[in-house]
C-alpha cells in the first residue's frame, strides 16, 4: 500500500469526522430548535378570590324520578378560593388520548384529563357522585321523557364564538348522526329542541334514569365553528371547547400542553399550564414523580407500596370503579367444559378462590376483595352485606359442592387471558383451583386476538377481564348490558353468554325504577342472583392510585370512572393549585 493511499485515507477520515460532526451539530440543534418552540407565556395576575354567582355549586340527587326534578338551592356556604396562582403542573399518564374530539376519544380506564379541561359537559358528577349542572345553569324534568336545560349565558368558546342553545342542539345532533361510541351512549335521545336562545329540551324515546348520567362524560360541548372550519381534522389539530384550559400543542404519543383560558366563565384557574406527558412504563412514572420531574401521576400497586410513607409523595386512593373478574361462559355451544354449566360447580370455583390472597399477591393490598358486580365507587349500591363467598378460600365447601355435582376429582378447563396484567392473576387462579382438583389451562393470547375471541367469536370456558361498565356510573351502566339475556351476540357485552330471564327482568327494572330505594332493592336482588348463581367470579376491585409531589395542593381523586385527573372544575369545587417558592 503506497503512502499516498494512507494519506488519502486519513484525508477521508478527517473529512468524514468533520462532516459527521458538522451534520450532527447542525442536525441536533435544528432538531431541538424545532422541539423548543416559543411558548406564549402570560404573566399571572391575581386570580379572582371570590367565586362568581354562576359557578356556585349546586347539587341534585343522582337519581331522576318520574316526579319532577329541579336544580336544588345552592349550598349556603361559599367555597373558598385560597390557593396561590401560577405555575405549571406536569402529569405523567400511561396512554395518550386517541382523539381530542370528544365523540371519537377512547374513553376508558385511561385518563380523560385533556378532554375534561378543554371541554365541559352540560352536567357533571361531583365528588360524592351527585349530579351538578356545569354548562347548564340548571335543569328540570318536564315529563317522564322531556328534560329542559338552561344554558349558562356569556360563555365563550376558545375561538371566541358564543355558546347558546343552538350550539348545544347542534352538538347533540352531531353525536346522534355520527357513527361513534357516543352514538350508543345517547341512543335514548329522540330529538333536541330549542325553546329560546338559552333553553333546550331533550325529548327521549322512552323514560330512563340513564339519560342524565350519560351527559356527564364524553359529551363535552365543542365549538360548531371550529368543527366546520377543520372538518375531518377536528380533534387531531384543534380542540375548541369552553373549558378552563385551552389546548396549545398536542404531539401524539408525547405530550399535550394546555394553557389557562383567560376568558373562562368561572373562577380563573390558578395554574398557568397543564402538561400531560406520556410515560408508558409504570416504574418510570414513579421514578419521575420521585425526582419531581412530574408532579402528578397514576401509579401501579408495586410502586405505590414502595412510596407509601414517603414524605415527599402524597398517595391518593380513589374508590374502585372497576373490578377484575372471571366470566364463566354459559353457552353450551361455544364452551368446552360442561361442568361449568352446573351452578354447584360455579359456586365451588367461587369458594375455591382466595380473594384476599390475590389482593395481596397481585395488588400489594391496594384492592378490595370482590363481592358482586357493582364496584365500591357506587357507594349507595355496593354493600359488604352481600358477600357470600369468604375473602379467603373455603376449600372444604368447594370440594363438597364439586362432589355433589359429580366431580369429586375435579375436571379440566381453560382460562382465556389477553391482558398484559392478566397472566400473573391467571397463574394464581390456576394454582388456587388446582387445590380442589380443577386443572386450568391458561389460554394466553395477544390483546387483539384475545379480544376478538371474547367479544366476537365468544369461544372460551372462562375468561379473565376487567369490568367497569358500559357507560355511566349507575347500576344499570355497570351491569345493565352485562347481564342482559338479549346481549349475547357478536360485539355485545353479556360475556357470560347467560340467558337468565330473572336477570333480564331485573335489568329492565333497574332503568324503570324511578326512586333510589326501589333501585337499590333491584340492584341488590340482581347482585344476589349473580353471586348466588356464580356466573362470574368477582376477584377484586383495584383502587385508583394517584400520587403527587408535595407542591400539589387540594387534589382529590374523582370517583367517576372516566374523568381522569380533575384539576379545575369550579362547579364541584375542584381547585388544585401549586405551592411554589
Amino acid at each position: 500500500m503506497s503512502s499516498s493511499t494512507v494519506k488519502g485515507f486519513s484525508r477521508y477520515l478527517v473529512l468524514a469526522v468533520v462532516l459527521t460532526a458538522l451534520i450532527s451539530v447542525i442536525g441536533t440543534s435544528a432538531y431541538f430548535q424545532m422541539l423548543v418552540q416559543p411558548q406564549p407565556y402570560t404573566k399571572t395576575t391575581t386570580v379572582t378570590q371570590t367565586i362568581t354567582e354562576q359557578a356556585r355549586t349546586t347539587t341534585v340527587t343522582m337519581f331522576i324520578t318520574t316526579t319532577q326534578v329541579t336544580t336544588p338551592a345552592p349550598p349556603s356556604e361559599k367555597p373558598k378560593l385560597e390557593g396561590k396562582p401560577g405555575g405549571t403542573i406536569t402529569i405523567a399518564v400511561e396512554k395518550d388520548e386517541t382523539s381530542l374530539d370528544p365523540i371519537f376519544s377512547q374513553a376508558g380506564v385511561f385518563t380523560d384529563t385533556i378532554l375534561n379541561h378543554v371541554y365541559e359537559t352540560l352536567i357533571a358528577y361531583d365528588y360524592n357522585m351527585n349530579l351538578v349542572p356545569r354548562l347548564a345553569e340548571s335543569f328540570r324534568q318536564v315529563d317522564p321523557i322531556t328534560f329542559e336545560f338552561s344554558i349558562r349565558k356569556g360563555v365563550k368558546f376558545h375561538d371566541g364564538t358564543e355558546l347558546d342553545g343552538e350550539v348545544v342542539k347542534w352538538n347533540i345532533e352531531r353525536i346522534l348522526t355520527t357513527p361513534s361510541p357516543r352514538q350508543g351512549q345517547l341512543s335514548m335521545v329522540d330529538r333536541v329542541e330549542t325553546i329560546d336562545k338559552y333553553t333546550v329540551r331533550f325529548i327521549l324515546k322512552f323514560p330512563t334514569s340513564e339519560f342524565l348520567p350519560a351527559l356527564t362524560w364524553g359529551t363535552g360541548i365543542v365549538s360548531k365553528a371550529a368543527v366546520e372550519k377543520y372538518g375531518s381534522d377536528y380533534g387531531t389539530v384543534a380542540a375548541i371547547g369552553t373549558g378552563p384550559y385551552k389546548l396549545v400543542r398536542w404531539v401524539k404519543g408525547d405530550q399535550a400542553v394546555l394553557e389557562r383560558y383567560n376568558d373562562y366563565w368561572g373562577p380563573k384557574p390558578y395554574m398557568d399550564r397543564i402538561i400531560l406527558r406520556v410515560i408508558p412504563e409504570a416504574s418510570v412514572r414513579a421514578l419521575s414523580l420521585e425526582r419531581g420531574e412530574v408532579q402528578l401521576a397514576q401509579l401501579e400497586p408495586v410502586d405505590a407500596k414502595r412510596l407509601q410513607g414517603s414524605k415527599a409523595i402524597n398517595l391518593y386512593l380513589g374508590e374502585p370503579t372497576r373490578m377484575i373478574m372471571i366470566s364463566i361462559n354459559q353457552n353450551p355451544e361455544t364452551q368446552g367444559t360442561k361442568a361449568l354449566l352446573d351452578k354447584r360447580v360455579r359456586q365451588a370455583i367461587n369458594y375455591a378462590i382466595d380473594r384476599r390472597g390475590l389482593v395481596e399477591a397481585i395488588q400489594e393490598g391496594f384492592a378490595i376483595a370482590g363481592i358482586g358486580p357493582i364496584p365500591p365507587a357506587l357507594k349507595q349500591f355496593w354493600s359488604e352485606a352481600l358477600r357470600m363467598y369468604p375473602e379467603t378460600a373455603d376449600i372444604e365447601r368447594a370440594k363438597q359442592l364439586l362432589a355433589e355435582a359429580g366431580y369429586p376429582d375435579g375436571f379440566e378447563t381453560t382460562l382465556l387471558n389477553f391482558f398484559p396484567w392478566g397472566l400473573p392473576v391467571a397463574t394464581v387462579i390456576q394454582a388456587q383451583l388446582a387445590k380442589v382438583g380443577i386443572k386450568v389451562e391458561i389460554n394466553n393470547m395477544e390483546f387483539g386476538a384475545g379480544a376478538e375471541q371474547l367479544l366476537v367469536k365468544r369461544k372460551y370456558d372462562m375468561a379473565l377481564h376487567d369490568w367497569a361498565g358500559t357507560g355511566a356510573p349507575t347500576p344499570f351502566g355497570v351491569v345493565g348490558e352485562f347481564f342482559d339475556p338479549t346481549k349475547v351476540g357478536e360485539w355485545q357485552w353479556n360475556l357470560q353468554n347467560v340467558k337468565d330471564p330473572i336477570l333480564g327482568w331485573l335489568v329492565k327494572e333497574l332503568v324503570r325504577q324511578p326512586d333510589f330505594n326501589a333501585q337499590k332493592g333491584v340492584s341488590d336482588a340482581l347482585q344476589r342472583r349473580v353471586i348466588e348463581e356464580g356466573y362470574g367470579v368477582i376477584l377484586f376491585y383495584p383502587y385508583k392510585i394517584h400520587a403527587s409531589t408535595q407542591v400539589v395542593k387540594n387534589y382529590r381523586v374523582h370517583p367517576h370512572p372516566w374523568y381522569g385527573f380533575v384539576l379545575w372544575m369550579p362547579v364541584i369545587e375542584a381547585f388544585v393549585w401549586l405551592e411554589q417558592d
Binding site: S10, S180, G184, K252
Partner: protein, 308 residues
C-alpha cells in the same frame, strides 16, 4: 457510480411492493380487528355504530380491493389516516421519525466512538489483562437486554445521581441515557469485531512490510491495519442502524421517547393497518437506503471496491 446508485434506488420499488403486500396479508390474517381494538373495549351501550364504522372504512371489502385501494392512494402520495386517531399517517410518521433518527444516529456514533478505539486497544494488547477485561466487558455489553440496561442507567444516573432527566424528550440531556443504552449494547459487538478483524489483518504480509519500511507502530495500526479491518464494522453499523429504526422499541418505551418503534408497536396491537403499513414502508425503505450508503462507503474505505 451514479448509474449504480440509480439502479439500487429502483430496487426500492419491488421492495416496497413486496413489503406492503406481505404486511397487508399478514395483518389481515392475524386475528383481531381495528374497530374492536380502538373502540370495542370501551364503555358504550349500543354497539351498532361498529358496523357503520367498518363499512365507512371499507374493512369488509375483499382483501385485494383493500390492497389496490391502498396502492392507488400510495401512488398519489397518500398513506391514509390512522383508524385510531384519525390523524394522517404521514403526519404521525413525520412527528416520530426525526425523534428516532436523532436517537439512533447518536447511538451509532456512541457505538463507533467507543467500540472502535477500545477494540483496537484490545487487539494491540492481545493476551494482557486489559484485553481480558475488555473482552469480558464487551460480552457483558452484548448480552445485556436493553430494557434492563435502560432501567439500570436510569436508576444510577437519573435517580441516584440526578445527572440526567428520568424520561421524556426535548433537550439534549434527555438524549443521553436512551442513546447510551442503545450505543453501549452495540459497542460490545463493535469491540469484538474490531479486535478479531484487526488481529487477523495484523498477521498479514503487508503489515510486516509496513513495519519493515520503518513506520511507527501507531501509524501501522491506525492507518494500515484499521482501515482494512473497517469494512465489516461499517457493515454491522449500517445493519444496526437499519434495524434500530423500528427496533429501538424497548428503549423508546422505557424513556417515553415518542419514536417510530413505539408508534409501530402500538399500531400493531391496535391493528391500525394504515399506520402499520406506513411505518413499515418507511423503515424498510430506510433499510434499503442505509445499505446503499454502506455500499458507497465501502468504495471510499477500500479502493478495490468499485461500482459500475
Amino acid at each position: 457510480m451514479l448509474k449504480y446508485i440509480l439502479r439500487r434506488c429502483l430496487m426500492l420499488v419491488p421492495v416496497v411492493l413486496g413489503v406492503t403486500l406481505i404486511i397487508f396479508v399478514i395483518m389481515k390474517l392475524t386475528p383481531g380487528d381495528p374497530i374492536l381494538n380502538v373502540y370495542g373495549i370501551q364503555p358504550t351501550g349500543d354497539q351498532s355504530y361498529i358496523a357503520e364504522l367498518r363499512d365507512k372504512l371499507g374493512l369488509d371489502d375483499p382483501i385485494y380491493v383493500q390492497y389496490s385501494k391502498f396502492l392507488w392512494r400510495l401512488i398519489q402520495g397518500d398513506l391514509g389516516r390512522s383508524i385510531a386517531s384519525n390523524k394522517p399517517v404521514l403526519s404521525l410518521i413525520s412527528e416520530a421519525l426525526p425523534n428516532t433518527l436523532v436517537l439512533i444516529l447518536s447511538a451509532v456514533a456512541i457505538a463507533a466512538l467507543m467500540g472502535i478505539p477500545i477494540g483496537v486497544i484490545s487487539a494491540v494488547r492481545q493476551g494482557t489483562r486489559i484485553d481480558h477485561t475488555i473482552r469480558i466487558a464487551s460480552i457483558f455489553a452484548v448480552s445485556m437486554p436493553d430494557f434492563w440496561l435502560a432501567l439500570v442507567l436510569m436508576l444510577v444516573f437519573s435517580y441516584y445521581l440526578g445527572l440526567t432527566p428520568i424520561a421524556g424528550h426535548g433537550t439534549i440531556q434527555h438524549l443521553i441515557l436512551p442513546s447510551s443504552t442503545l450505543g453501549i449494547g452495540m459497542s460490545g459487538v463493535i469491540v469484538r469485531l474490531t479486535r478479531s478483524n484487526l488481529l487477523e489483518i495484523m498477521r498479514q504480509d503487508f503489515i510486516t512490510a509496513a513495519y519493515a519500511r520503518g513506520l511507527s507502530r501507531t501509524k501501522v495500526i491506525w492507518r494500515h491495519a484499521l482501515r482494512n479491518a473497517l469494512i465489516p464494522i461499517v457493515t454491522v453499523l449500517g445493519l444496526q442502524l437499519g434495524f434500530l429504526i423500528a427496533g429501538a422499541f424497548f428503549v423508546e418505551w422505557i424513556f417515553g421517547w415518542p419514536g417510530i418503534g413505539r408508534l409501530t408497536v402500538q399500531a400493531i396491537t391496535q391493528r391500525d393497518y394504515p399506520v402499520v403499513l406506513g411505518t413499515l414502508l418507511v423503515t424498510s425503505s430506510a433499510y434499503v437506503l442505509i445499505n446503499l450508503i454502506v455500499d458507497i462507503i465501502y468504495a471510499y474505505i477500500d479502493p478495490r471496491v468499485q461500482y459500475e
